[in-house]
Symmetry: C2
Subunit: 338 residues, 2 copies
């Protein structure tokens, strides 16, 4: 690889001059020199050495994307349709802005921070973290951090975060179900913290508002893994007569359930109404098409990237907690039973 020194030498100028024209600090360089240097740079096919730059300049132009994901055989952090859409846009946005993406999945906040520091990462986007990890990361990271879809233990406005009005829209889709005549609605999620907790809360509020029982008993915790899911659905199936509608905290589970019922000979929405949340690629591609809350994963990614870069470039010290709006999309998986 050709170095600045070599370029300088072959031109009979100093490395400083070459470095200056590379960086456009050309106020103090004669037009002629600029042209000669530029030409040589091109001719010799100069490619900067980022390690040297990082070492000297104390910035790396790397943005770390860290993903918390439970370790499961045969499953990975990228596979989930929502995650992959997010990662894809983040990659694209980072690249377009002239930064580099380092991707790291882990369930250990400390490990992630070590990676970030060892590479002198300019900024961090953190996704899927629990409240405690967020706190740890915020307190120890030596670079700007933007969280995606996180909820926090302490003051949420102390964090840079881009999320969704989960509670509000979970309430809205629940109310939609109620308007369609449903009174006995089960809620299903694979955990009870963060985003899922908010969605559950939204569901409860909507139920209570209409004097319907949002009893503990209507919460189904979906177990992990293929067999876990199966077992949960079996349990649900056994109690199917108690409900006329099911609200899944994510489309993925909603679609699996539609298939499960299909296999059992139960028709959605005729015999059971189903709604999801996210509007991922499954929701649009299943039959019946899924009624759900549409959120724009791409937009979340875009805003997150924009935010870290704003902070990296010191155009903002802090961006705060951004909660996006969503949209109810009515499709074919709910029956009006009024």
């Amino acid at each position: 690889m050709v170095t600045i020194k070599e370029v300088a030498f072959s031109l009979g100028v100093s490395p400083t001059t070459v470095s200056n024209v590379i960086h456009g600090n050309t106020k103090e360089v004669s037009p002629r020199t600029i042209a000669r240097v530029r030409e040589k740079l091109d001719e010799l096919h100069y490619i900067p050495n980022m390690s040297a730059r990082t070492l000297a300049g104390n910035f790396s132009r790397i943005i770390g994307l860290i993903i918390r994901y439970p370790v499961m055989e045969g499953k990975n952090a990228v596979q989930d349709p929502f995650n992959s859409e997010l990662i894809g846009t983040i990659e694209a946005e980072i690249r377009k802005a002239g930064f580099f993406l380092m991707l790291y999945a882990s369930d250990n906040a400390q490990e992630v921070l070590n990676v970030a520091h060892t590479w002198n990462v300019d900024g961090l986007i953190a996704f899927g973290m629990g409240a405690k990890e967020c706190q740890e990361i915020k307190e120890t990271a030596k670079m700007p951090v933007v969280f995606i879809d996180c909820y926090f233990l302490d003051d949420e406005n102390a964090y840079n975060n881009v999320g969704l009005k989960d509670r509000e829209y979970a309430g809205k889709i629940t109310e939609y179900l109620i308007e369609q005549g449903h009174k006995r609605i089960a809620f299903l999620a694979d955990n009870r913290v963060g985003v899922d907790f908010e969605r559950w809360s939204g569901y409860c509020q909507a139920m209570e508002k209409h004097n319907l029982p949002a009893v503990e008993d209507s919460f189904f915790m979906i177990s992990y893994g293929d067999t876990g899911i199966q077992q949960t659905y079996d349990a649900l199936y056994a109690r199917k007569d108690e409900f006329t509608a099911l609200f899944f905290a994510s489309d993925y589970y909603a679609c699996l359930a539609i298939n499960y019922f299909y296999d059992k000979g139960i028709r959605v929405p005729d015999e059971m109404s189903v709604v999801g949340f996210d509007d991922n690629i499954f929701a649009r591609n299943i039959r019946p098409k899924l009624t759900t809350v549409q959120q724009n994963a791409g937009e979340k990614g875009r805003i997150a990237v924009e935010s870290v870069i704003k902070m990296i470039e010191k155009k903002a010290a802090f961006v705060g907690n951004i909660r996006l709006d969503a949209e109810l999309v009515i499709r074919d998986s709910v029956k009006n039973i009024t």
Copy 2:
């Protein structure tokens, strides 16, 4: 961030000694010193500076994953279910092996190589590349490269590649269709090079073997984008009576087609049989479940990572062209019409 020098100073030893114990070159260090250094390292929370290491040692422990993907509004390289499974396992394997992943999507071989060189990337995994780009990359990259799912212009054994016996298994699933009594089978793909060309070739060979016409006319080129797909399917629909079965070069398109036919009131498999290729997450989750060729994206990723690392660590100079076997999975999307 604390440096080796600081650790050394606070202990009254030299940086060399500290560096040596960090790297386990402890043959020439007294046990007592080792212990003291280790303790201090821990106490001060020493984190190595990778830029400095890279600069001094000329290796980075970064593995670049480069993905070729056509630039489309609202679509990205990670979103595709096959890609995301692949990326997910690659990330996990790289991390487990103690390397770092830099992800870069682009449709420009030169750009990708610049990124790789600028970061002194130790090795490269390239995915979705065309034959010409592969050649360019192989010839200019200064580090080991492993391709995934590529086909080449020149001697394929000159490349490190991990792929599938596409032609063979496309032949097998075509023969399966023929055994089920199908004689008029359309083939659909979104391009006609690389993997898709091989699958088309396999289809043609199987047809010819059974004295059936594999006419040019039965090849449908699926146009890009949502409207492109729609148009192609409309064209297919107009000619639906010419065929009893459809062979899609990828599950994604097969599943979209099943839905398309569903919306048109045409039942799969009763009125039209459909098969795909890949066995991605859609194939398992659509109803009727899709008959397809199962390939293991995760395994491809694992082998690719293992291969680059083998070359990086000089345990092999070359791994060659590995073509994996696949498996026919018979599900519910084909009707026996014999």
